[in-house]
Amino acid sequence: MNSTPTPPTPQTVTPAPITLGDRTFHSRLFVGTGKYKDPETMVAALDASGCEVVTVAIRRVDWKSGHDPVMAHLDRKRYTILPNTAGCFEAEDAIRVARLGRELGLGDWVKLEVLGDKKTLLPDPVGTLEATKTLVAEGFTVLAYTSDDPVMALRLQDAGATSVMPAGSPIGSGQGINNRHSLRIILETLTVPVIIDAGVGTASDVTIAMELGAEGVLLNTGIAGAKDPVAMAHAMRHALAAGYFAHRAGRIEKRLYATASSPLEGVLGE
């Protein structure tokens, strides 16, 4: 996970591609399709974000009032569709949703969420681990949403998760990155790509995640809920690049006291 920092060359304007399982993506930003005020805003925001992977949810069909057919707005040639198991509180339900996603033609990829609590939407570690094992055995590529617990992250990697996705803070909370220390330990320990998922409130949160060494960031509400989602998507894209390059540039150590930037010798009046 810890690559030797190499400064970006002036020619380098976009982060290197990211490989997950057998797929390589040019964008490290993964964006959800929920909560946009209309499909046009969603399409424009996804475009501005530069993302290549978008998440969707699977829900009981409402045949009487109908659904906005999100898939009708998504260019399948441009975007890889990643179904999530959001809202599942049991491993078994999450496994069923993953299988239904495959039946819906979305392939073998799943963003696995097994939640443990309705108020915080924090993941249930036991259920998440159980579902990961089952789905990996069934041939799924599992991107596992988890808390910022380093031991749990390791367990999910050992269970065969293609990516481990610790939350920066609770889903949709906009609190940003709450525990940099735990995330740093996860990033130092794991060998699979770590994508920070959830809690992003604004662009600087994405930069912090990438500065810590995350391979990517997944978010939804931070863009969809912004006053101007398209402008925020644009900001998120550049924030990700900033953090990506800063991580590789190698930051200075923090010090308690000042260190002058200009020579201390030869000052007038000495």
């Binding site: 959800g32 399709t33 929920g34 909560k35 946009y36 969603m42 998440t55 969707v56 949810a57 699977i58 829900r59 009981r60 069909v61 045949w63 009487k64 009032s65 109908g66 659904h67 906005d68 057919p69 999100v70 898939m71 569709i81 179904p83 999530n84 959001a86 069923r96 949703v97 299988r99 239904l100 039946e103 819906l104 979305l106 889903i171 949709g172 997944l218 978010l219 939804n220 509400t221 969809a224």
Partner: protein, 77 residues
């Protein structure tokens, strides 16, 4: 006539109905409701927690007490 559970709600269906007939009746109800309609290509069906592939809708008969889930793709994060 058998009672089944469809997406968590009890529903009475004609005897000897298949999954195909259930989906067709939902299509008819959607049309009647005058909304966006129901795109069966965007559906997946589960009976008693086992997926029923599209190719077996006709062959799969529904019986009393069956628990059916019919799902689709929506926006999400």
């Amino acid at each position: 006539m058998p009672n089944i559970s469809l997406n968590g709600e009890v529903r009475t269906i004609p005897a000897n109905s298949s999954v195909e007939q259930l989906v067709a009746s939902l299509e008819a109800e959607a049309k009647e409701a005058g909304t966006r309609g129901l795109d069966r290509r965007a559906l997946a069906v589960e009976v008693n927690r086992v997926i029923v592939p599209r190719s077996t809708y006709r062959a799969h008969a529904l019986t009393e007490g069956d628990e059916i889930e019919i799902v689709t793709i929506v926006g999400g994060g």
